[in-house]
């Protein structure tokens, strides 16, 4: 139904891009402000257009592969079609429960991730600055880091008094280690010349920390936060198996236990979109905090 519309749009989307770039100089009577804005944001617009086109192409490919049930080594025979997923999406958005799933998951991610950032970043900074702390904590962290979220489920249930806390704990673990490791990495890359210069100028420990170490490792901290956010969403399914009631991870899991492929795909896409959204938020925060790095 939507496929013909989808088919035409990439050409439409691609076509105006080229002439549009050429228009501003040929039409000087047009508001020069708009032209200027256009020129300034040309790169971003281009990215947006190509990005949209590629997403649409992805949808078309998905649609065609599933409609014709393509089999070439990988089999699309029983993969739900985008339209089937859309149908379960329209059903889901009219269901207040689905919104509840999403809101609860977002809350869990928010709390778990915030705690991970609040603990991980300072700990990483301290570990990077003081060797003894590094030597004490690093081995433990390295042992715990590779343990996948799903393996934590039984321990998390036993450790915490309520299930909600267990779930937040697992998302916390997921984002904590990437944040810690990246912060640590950022600290090791701080230019010692800068530190020495600050010392020569009479800076104390606290000011060196505030003025040199922290800003210098910020880019890596934000890399850690972005990666950590991704892993937090990855951990979500495992965590929400515990709740047995709410959360988008649980929604996906329940769809699996009732073998409803369209709902499984819907859950996956919802997690993907939410993950993308939260990464964008972090990137925006990064640009606010580090204006000198905006590209």
């Amino acid at each position: 139904m939507s496929s013909p519309a989808l088919m035409t749009s990439p050409e439409q989307a691609a076509a105006p891009a080229a002439p549009a770039a050429a228009t501003p100089p040929s039409r000087p009577e047009l508001s020069s402000r708009a032209a200027r804005w256009f020129r300034l944001n040309q790169d971003r617009l281009r990215g947006l257009l190509i990005g949209t086109a590629s997403l649409i192409l992805f949808l078309i490919a998905w649609h065609l592969l599933t409609t014709y049930r393509v089999v070439f080594f990988v089999k699309f025979t029983n993969v739900p079609a985008p339209l089937a997923v859309y149908a379960s999406f329209t059903k889901a958005i009219h269901d207040p429960k689905f919104l509840m799933h999403i809101l609860l998951s977002c809350r869990r991610i928010f709390i778990g991730f915030s705690l991970a950032a609040l603990v991980g970043v300072p700990l990483g900074l301290i570990m990077g600055r003081f060797k003894l702390v590094h030597e004490i904590i690093f081995p433990v962290a390295e042992v715990l880091r590779p343990i996948p979220a799903i393996a934590w489920v039984p321990m998390a249930i036993m450790l915490w008094p309520t299930n909600e806390q267990s779930i937040v704990f697992i998302t916390f673990l997921g984002s904590f280690f990437p944040i810690l490791v990246n912060t640590l990495h950022g600290m090791t890359l701080v230019d010692p010349v800068l530190v020495r210069a600050a010392k020569c100028l009479g800076a104390r420990e606290t000011s060196i920390f505030r003025e040199v170490y922290f800003p210098a490792s910020l880019p890596h901290i934000f890399t850690g936060l972005t990666v950590g956010m991704g892993v937090a969403w990855v951990s979500l399914i495992a965590a929400e198996m515990i709740s047995g009631q709410f959360g988008i991870g649980y929604f996906t899991w329940e769809a699996y236990s009732l073998v409803q492929y369209a709902d499984i795909a819907l859950g996956m896409i919802a997690i993907g979109v939410l993950g993308l959204g939260s990464s964008l938020v972090i990137r925006a925060a990064g640009q606010l905090v580090m204006p000198w790095r905006s590209r």
């Binding site: 049930r69 089999k75 025979t77 029983n78 489920v153 039984p154 249930i157 036993m158 309520t162 299930n163 198996m241 515990i242 709740s243 047995g244 009631q245 649980y250 899991w253 329940e254 699996y256 236990s257 009732l258 073998v259 409803q260 492929y261």
Partner: protein, 471 residues
């Protein structure tokens, strides 16, 4: 010189092997999805695998002369992943409980390559035993009505889920009588142990296993719903149509596994513990004589009717559209298998009898005449002895203890419902030298009130049995 000769011989033999290969080129992989921990599927899966029974019956001549079979066993803890594997054609056979089976059949309706068909039953309970609701042993809940407003978990889409819905319906309770959430057996067990949930409903063997492991108490048994429950085997039709003889061989292997189990249930339970990790005492309560599950591969009409009821439940939950279990059942393979084994399919189909506790009661010195009033004691290292009544069983229990023997477990039968119980978890109503075991406290209390007796636990009942002498 010798070296070169050796090399020559080696290369010639290698070559001849390579040359011989094309003749026997075709390899057919048979993927079978089992549930090792789901005790009532073992005769269709685990036992067949471990005793290599399928290999024994696989066809070798005629059109199969040039076919080499490769059997690939995959173990899962629940049905849906097996359905997933079957849809992806990684598995051709799968075994699971009634609800997942129906979901399997329904999911295959949309598969253009193949459908799925129910070809045999692994084990069933016509009264619905096997599923159950357990609570933490220290909690003050003794029956379903005690769970009002409480948090109860069950694996959604499982046979136990169906039982919970039916139980609510039977009790005339609204759907929000308690808060029902979905948890896998693994997660639910841990949650119950930590008392994060008030009750956990589950399928075989968890309703017996968790009490046996010492932290749970069963307060509701599937028999109370009186809705049959079963585990069965489904097959992909594209595979079955291409290799019907393999499907028949598979069913023969299941029949052989059943015979093996019934020949020596104790040894079988011990082997199954070794293979699956489920305690032998728990295996025995399900699959032993008078056990809570009847292993029988025939597809009984009562089970198909139950499947139709299950479909309605799933439909009312909005989980399923039109699906007719009658069309999904295919007994042609099992009929052929029985005919080839010279067994009477229709006779076994009509019979719903389990094998029962039997023999001579060595403690009270009389034959066992009423198997569902009998009992058994499993002495560590010695074996299982059967006794003619609950009182004799408890008397023998005390006798073994006095002799310093280590008792693994003792079984008695519920007086009202005829299901097998762990004696140490039962409630006993005692009056006039008679001892009547019950699963539910309320049943024991009602019986005691009627007969003017009193309700007690195992220790007290044992003392009474000893004091009352041999009845």
């Amino acid at each position: 010189m010798v070296r070169r000769l050796e090399a020559l011989i080696l290369s010639v033999t290698c070559l001849s092997f390579i040359a011989a290969q094309p003749a026997a080129a075709e390899t057919v992989t048979i993927g079978i999805g089992t549930q090792d921990t789901t005790t009532n599927t073992v005769t269709a899966g685990t036992v067949v695998r471990q005793l290599k029974l399928l290999e024994k019956y696989l066809p070798r001549d005629g059109k199969y002369a040039n076919i080499k079979f490769e059997i690939e066993w995959q173990n899962f803890t629940s049905g849906p992943p097996i359905t997933n594997g079957m849809m992806a054609n990684k598995l051709q056979f799968g075994m699971m409980g009634d609800y997942p089976l129906i979901v399997n059949g329904f999911t295959f309706e949309t598969n253009p390559e193949s459908k799925s068909r129910l070809i045999a039953v692994a084990a069933y309970s016509l009264s619905g035993s096997g599923n159950g609701i357990v609570v933490h042993k220290d909690s003050p809940y003794y029956e379903l009505s005690d769970l009002k407003g409480k948090l109860v978990s069950v694996p959604f889409g499982s046979a136990a889920h169906g039982m919970v819905l039916k139980a609510l319906q039977d009790g005339g309770y609204p759907s929000d009588f308690f808060q029902l959430v979905s948890q896998t057996p693994e997660v639910g067990s841990t949650n119950l142990q930590e008392r994060k949930i008030d009750a956990h409903a589950d399928f075989v063997p968890f309703a017996e296993l968790l009490p046996f492991r010492g932290f749970a108490r069963k307060i509701y048994d599937g028999v109370q719903t009186n809705l049959p429950t079963f585990h069965g085997v489904v097959v992909r039709t594209d595979f079955a149509e291409k290799y019907p003889e393999v499907v028949i061989a598979y069913i023969k292997a299941v029949v052989a596994a059943n015979q093996w189990l019934r020949q020596d249930p104790k040894a079988a339970a011990e082997k199954i513990q070794e293979w699956t990790g489920i305690n032998k005492e728990v295996v025995y309560i399900f699959l032993g004589p008078g056990g809570n599950m009847t292993t029988d591969p025939t597809i009984k009409p009562a089970l198909v009717d139950a499947a139709a009821t299950d479909v309605k439940v799933l439909q009312s939950l909005g989980r399923m559209k039109e699906f007719d279990p009658k069309k999904w059942v295919d007994d042609s393979y099992i009929r052929k298998a029985y005919a080839e084994l010279k067994l009477d399919y229709d006779k076994e189909l009509a019979s719903t009898a389990n094998y029962e506790v039997s023999g001579e009661d060595k403690f009270c010195n009389k034959p066992i005449t009423e198997p569902r009033k009998a009992g058994e004691v499993w002495v560590d290292g010695e074996g299982i002895s059967a006794f003619s009544s609950a009182a004799c069983t408890l008397g023998a229990y005390a006798d073994y203890k006095a002799k310093g023997k280590k008792i693994n477990v003792a079984y008695v039968f519920d007086t009202a419902r005829g299901i097998k119980l762990f004696a140490d978890l039962a409630f006993f109503a005692a009056a006039n030298g008679e001892i009547a075991p019950f699963l539910l406290k309320k049943d024991a209390e009602a019986y005691a009130a009627k007969t003017g007796g009193k309700v007690m636990g195992l220790d007290e009942a044992v003392k009474l049995a000893v004091a009352g002498g041999k009845t």
